[in-house]
Symmetry: C2
Subunit: 886 residues, 2 copies
């Protein structure tokens, strides 16, 4: 028969999968000799079987529980339900992957109208006994019987009122008895039955409740957010109760072996004397810092220090533990790897290497790359005078100030004019994305951590405070009201997406600075990683930032962003409206020096490093007004029958916009197709690139330009463009009389390019996978259209595990990346291959890129450190796998 | 040194690639003992080298020509430039693939002011000699020196006027001398030099001119249309002249070994006595049918019959040959495989099997599948009231009506606007081809069955009436006059290219029916082919037609076409405008019986054969008005400030249209994505399909429904839909108490589906490659946007060899088809795989589908015979390849 139940001394730390984190911790602490109240753990496998059987126990489970319970009774010398000497137990959930607070726990189980007498006898403490019984009924009533928590609280408040006391501990014996009776009545009323008096039935019901809590709504949501599989199941630990509320030589607390907030090596924690664990969490009494225990119970403090040292030595990582002191005796109730802030994670990892506890590789693996985000964004200047006017959810980290703006259109407009903007909306929709892009931050009054605003802002690395429900947002009047303050459109506010706080006015922020440990960790990452990490940057500022954050090159410069700038757009429009090649070339001539200036700036910033520049990619209509807008304008002008001159102009514009209009612009006249139709555009750009490079080379600045052709589907598209590029470049270089190496390559962003990469590599000296577009065409999904309409629903419904625009779809798109890489290298073994889609800064995607042998990933500047760490982790994991390590 | 020049006796029929069709024919005829004026052929390889060297001769070519010329002089016992006994030669182009009339020819080369005396002496015919010289100068002047043909014609007309004669042959010796002088003057004026007198220089210049004519505009256009590679080059044959214009026992003609129009086994051809070849082509004198030669020159007629028999026996195919009779002696000048109408091709192929000349396999390979189109096109309804206004030559079968248009440019323009057009010209030239492509038919007043109009129209499968000389065509006034009737530009006429008749107005046409031979050939195809041939059909009528044409199933029924019908659209719109699921289901309930009726009709038509029905695919906004239109309406209504009720309604519609509007609808909310969002739509369709199938099954009609889910990119999309389909179907079938097999499968039309086909085959019982959409996503090209904007230019510029929406891109899209098929069959070895894109009826694509092992292709009903033949050819070619046959 399968073994489903393990006594604590039968397990150890590495049995998390079947014992859950909690069970494995209890077993491990038992194993290394720490004082642990004894008990047993029902395995996750039992839970899985329970669900498989339609929530019925698998064969043998009941017997095994009975068996282990007997063993516990023997060791504890108590007996469940024995009115003289009753055994009380806790029943706790514990999954392999920690889901704090998501599932249920029952304490003091075993109490009933008879065993309470035994407890009174043994403890000589009637108040304690009744209080324990009261807590048990309340918890059991809520967790096992499903009665709302509030209903118990209301009764509790009533009784306190009647007794004229304020705090729970002030309720004395008679008050507690009264409370107990009313609780029992409530239960009878709610479930139509008496509170179960049989401790074995209590135990069975509690175990069932814990199993069932695996699939409560909270837990399911948590798993979805944290991408924890639904089929792991939870273990259930049944443990003898110890009590921290048996007088002033009792107590309870939580501790960390180091400070989980800063990472400092200090004993950190809180405790309460004469209290049970829930009192610490409940926040009714303010716990004392751990250091106070030195005075309160000096002997126990010393014991605890030894426990801390033993725990960290044993686990080689910072532990988060719970303890209880029962009448001067210390018990450990739980230990687990401590959650920590990004700052702490980095410091601890680096410190532990210096303390020779772990290796550099282990240190690198200890930090979750995405967490670094926290260290890379602006934060409120700690010296600033601040006035918090509201608090919402900390939806996306970073601090930002800007003018309050209520529509996405206006936010976009101001943002493009370089005005700082905070976009304020009741909630955002996909229609607001263009405004969010240009805003410094986003503030909403509705929606949670997974609301549209939160998800999108995190993706963009923008500050976001979501669900700030105290705000009254009046979008029509364009005001925010909160606590008698009214904020009008255009006034400044500041938000802190890390804390959820909102401030009036411009609060000074400071740019993130990297701690010494952060730099050390990243330098170790560089030692270990194989992948290059480049950045996507369209301006010299971005390039400088990227370089500062460790970018080893620019993997994507989008030249169209240069075209969009205020001072260029009119010239670009002139170029587009030109009726013939000559006029088009006139306009391009004006753009040439401007483009050249752009490239000079970027090349300078990246001196000595490669800079990959993509020639114009988007369809031309993106530089003209929107068809619907101009259509309304023209229709209106026509009906008014005046402003003939304006009408004529607009009609001409409408004609152009209509002629450029496309049903599916994503699949239309863009990228190299434009370059082939109007070679003069690419020629101007190439001229600007090469002239900029020559100018700097002459000044002794080392420049490595790489020219990238977008949207190639067939080698024959690439050939004539490459020929032109090389002709222009070679002539200019020859004329300048200098030596300048440059490369010509292509984006691989269409399935056909990946499928025929062997052919394409005949011309292309490098490949850069544009996984954004490649994902769109491989899935046949337009990101613009899909995210709001069905893609997020797909993720919610588990049709897709991840949004493929965030996490690279390895099964489909990844197959093309792998195929394209291997085909390309078949033709050109030294082919440089990278990725410049948004996936380039996403840790799992980076790991994939490493595994298929790309040369580099390229991501937004602020994701560079994340990519560096992820790349190092990928290399270390690969090495460990080869060595058979786990 | 490489051999570039071959004497006729050094070659044979299978050396077409290097000798060109003409050169190989002359060599072969020499080899089998036919009377051929001797000469030599300069290989296509020489031409290719000529272009590679920047239009200079490759090393050794000049010497080899000199060498072979000497050999020719030896055999002919004449000498080039010898004033007593001059050798005269023709210099003709000849590519491996015939390009009739596209390249240049020079005759009578070797004549000059001295050798003409020799010719006079030898022939004792001054008129002949001067006329030959005159023709030579005119041809040389035009072809080699590049002087416009018209300039010579004007002089010719002048002289005729002065001499008061009407026809060329009426010009006598002195007149010819006058003419010669004026021609020479013209040349001096045009090129600034005298007409070259040195025959060796003449020869060199003529050879160059033929080489150069490979890349003249006409030739390039012809190759583009006929998809002939540009790098084959032309051969040049230099051959001793024989003269058909040396009196009434001389003559010239063309012949076919069978009738190339009907395929009848009869001697067919035309000749002129005392004439040169160009006279037959020029159409000045009307040639006599070959049968007349029996009376004119009975001995030669008998000789010719023997030649015909020998030729067909040798080539085992119908030959098109040119002959000249010089003073009673027959010479063969050219033979080539005869072009033929589709009707003739089929009849000849079938007849030759019955005559045991060729095998069934060879017969099948003899017919170009695309040509069958001609047999599948319209003819005049025999019951129509018709008024014949003129009769010309039945130059290319098929009936067509359209607006009378006089220029190719205008025909092209209107044709592209989908206006039916009949292009009317005195005669067509290669400059008219773009107009012919877009016209429904072509009508000329001059030229015979071998005229440009006739040859080209037959190639295109267009209706053509040629040489309709009763018509007075005034291209300037844009009118046709005939028997007091005047037809103006834009008025309708009808032509019957099968009878040569021209009718006033639009005459009703009917669809073609198949000849006995056609049926036989297709039945042989069925014996040989391995691929199934299904049809795409959305109505019972289409299904019946398809079955009649041999469809073995329906590969694609597009249910949205049913939604578009007049009586359904309002209900569909009601369904879309519904605010909630309940109202949506109300509307769907009304659609259910209508859909059921559709399926009953199709199932009946296809009794016993599989019918694959695709569930709703297009985005819902396709069923609503266009956004721009409704936007203009609403803007107008808003400004008018009345019709408030209408405005409100339109606003509501606008809101819906806007909410459904997509930036890239092709990649948006459609296909299975709709099915997942609104399961009630698919459920209704499945219900309709299964209820229809049950109803017929109960009546004893065998039904094989297959339900196809569109736009799957991930197996997880397919799973819930398949589950619903099977649930509904199984319940209904069980309730009906009958046995009914059905299948559930999917379109593979997105790259990701092909890449993960192994996963998808876990659910799908069949695959159907939707190569239209698969081409769009694989290339990242929206067909709607691209064809006008850049795709046709891509084909023109040879960036793509074919429009990938017409001919399947085997290298890219085909790789996905192959991969998807093999992955799918790995999971499900008996997976049924087909293709239902437009490529399913394109012969090269069919061959590809055969080669990758698909089960069937599905195409439009009228392409079914083409696909059957193509499938048989594919199977035969594969077999031949295995046996090492060519």
């Amino acid at each position: 028969m399968k073994k489903y139940v393990y006594f604590f001394n039968e397990g150890k730390a590495n049995m998390k999968t079947i014992l859950g984190g909690k069970g494995a911790g209890l077993a491990e602490m038992t194993r290394i000799g720490l004082p642990v109240p004894q008990g047993f753990t029902i395995s996750t496998e039992a839970c899985i079987e329970y669900y498989r059987n339609g929530t019925r126990y698998p064969e043998g489970l009941e017997e095994q529980i009975k068996d282990k319970l007997q063993q516990l009774e023997k060791i504890s010398k108590k007996k469940l339900g024995d009115p003289k000497n009753p055994l009380l137990v806790s029943v706790r959930s514990g999954a392999a992957i920690s889901m704090p607070g998501m599932m249920d726990t029952v304490l003091n189980l075993g109490l009933n109208n008879f065993t309470i007498q035994g407890i009174i006898e043994i403890t000589k403490n009637e108040r304690f006994a009744y209080d324990s019984y009261r807590r048990f009924i309340q918890m059991f009533g809520n967790v096992v019987l499903g009665i709302e928590h509030d209903k118990f609280e209301i009764i509790l408040e009533e009784v306190k009122k009647e007794l004229k006391v304020k705090l729970d501990p002030e309720i004395e014996g008679e008050g507690l008895k009264k409370l107990l009776e009313r609780y029992k009545k409530l239960i009878k009323k709610e479930i139509g039955k008496d509170f179960p008096q049989d401790p074995e039935l209590q135990l069975k019901m509690a175990i069932d409740a814990v199993f069932n809590s695996w699939n409560n709504k909270r837990a399911i949501t948590y798993r979805k957010i944290n991408k924890i599989p639904d089929d792991l199941g939870t273990a259930v630990s049944v443990q003898e109760m110890v009590f921290g509320n048996m007088g002033d030589n009792s107590g309870t607390g939580v501790g960390f072996t180091r400070n989980p907030s800063t990472g400092e090596k200090e004993y950190y924690g809180e405790y309460l004397l004469n209290a049970q664990g829930e009192d610490v969490v409940a926040g009714i009494r303010t716990p004392m810092p751990l250091s106070n225990l030195k005075n309160d119970l000096p002997k126990l403090y010393q014991e605890l220090i030894k426990v801390i040292q033993l725990l960290e030595k044993n686990y080689q990582d910072v532990q988060d533990f719970e303890f209880t002191i029962e009448k001067g005796k210390l018990y450990l109730l739980q230990t687990r790897t401590a959650k920590r802030t990004a700052q702490a994670a980095v410091k601890i990892a680096v410190d532990m290497v210096e303390e020779k506890i772990i290796s550099k590789e282990e240190a690198i693996l200890r930090v979750e790359p995405n967490q670094l985000n926290q260290l890379l964004h602006k934060r409120i200047d700690p010296n600033a005078k601040i006035k918090v006017i509201a608090k919402g959810l900390p939806a996306s980290p970073g601090a930002a100030y800007g003018k309050v703006i209520f529509t996405a259109d206006e936010a976009e407009q101001l943002g493009k004019e370089k005005e700082p903007v905070i976009l304020v909306r009741t909630e955002t929709t996909p229609d607001d994305i263009h405004g969010m892009v240009e805003a410094q931050g986003v503030l909403t009054s509705r929606g949670g951590m997974t609301s549209h605003a939160a998800v999108v802002a995190r993706g963009m690395g923008k500050a976001c405070v979501a669900g700030c429900s105290v705000l009254s947002i009046n979008a029509k009047k364009e005001t925010i009201s909160v606590n008698n303050i009214t904020i009008k459109k255009g006034e400044f506010i500041t938000i802190d997406g890390g804390s959820g706080e909102v401030f009036l006015g411009k609060v000074p922020t400071i740019d993130p600075e990297m701690s010494e440990e952060f730099k050390i960790l990243l330098s170790w990452s560089n030692e270990k990683k194989r992948l290059g990490v480049y950045a996507n940057a369209d301006t010299p500022e971005d390039a400088l930032k990227a370089r500062e954050l460790g970018a080893e090159g620019i993997g994507l410069t989008r030249t169209e962003h240069m075209f969009m700038a205020q001072d260029r757009l009119p010239i670009v429009q002139e170029m587009i409206m030109a009726d013939n090649k000559k006029n088009r070339e006139e306009a391009l001539k004006k753009l040439l020096p401007i483009q050249k200036g752009d490239f000079i700036g970027i090349f300078k910033a990246m001196e000595g490093l490669p800079v990959i520049i993509r020639l114009l990619d988007p369809p031309l209509h993106e530089f003209l007004p929107n068809l619907e807008d101009i259509l309304i304008e023209v229709t209106t002008l026509r009906l008014k029958e005046k402003d003939i001159k304006e009408l004529n102009e607009k009609e001409k514009l409408l004609e152009k916009v209509t002629s450029l209009h496309e049903i599916n612009p994503m699949l239309g006249l863009r990228g190299c197709r434009l370059g082939l139709l109007y070679p003069e555009i690419y020629n101007m750009q190439v001229q600007a690139i090469i002239e900029a490079a020559i100018e700097l080379t002459k000044k002794g600045i080392k420049v490595k330009p790489e020219i990238m052709i977008p949207l190639i589907s067939h080698i024959n598209e690439l050939k004539p463009i490459c020929r032109d590029v090389r002709k222009i470049a070679d002539e200019k270089i020859k004329l300048a009389g200098i030596k300048l190496n440059y490369k010509v390559g292509t984006m691989i962003e269409l399935p056909r390019a990946a499928l025929t990469a062997d052919k394409i590599a005949e011309e292309a000296e490098f490949f850069s996978f544009g996984t954004n577009d490649l994902t769109q065409t491989t899935f046949g999904i337009s990101r613009d259209d899909a995210e709001g309409k069905f893609l997020l629903k797909y993720v919610d419904d588990h049709i897709l595990e991840d949004n493929p625009f965030e996490v690279l779809d390895q099964e489909g798109v990844g197959k093309l990346v792998e195929l394209g890489t291997s085909l390309g290298r078949k033709t050109r073994p030294d082919l440089e291959v990278g990725i410049c889609g948004e996936h380039g800064g996403e840790p799992r995607s980076v790991e994939f890129c490493h595994s298929v042998g790309l040369n580099y990933v390229s991501c937004s500047p602020f994701r560079v450190p994340i990519a560096r760490l992820a790349a190092a982790q990928a290399a270390i994991k690969e090495k460990n796998l080869k060595c058979g390590k786990k």
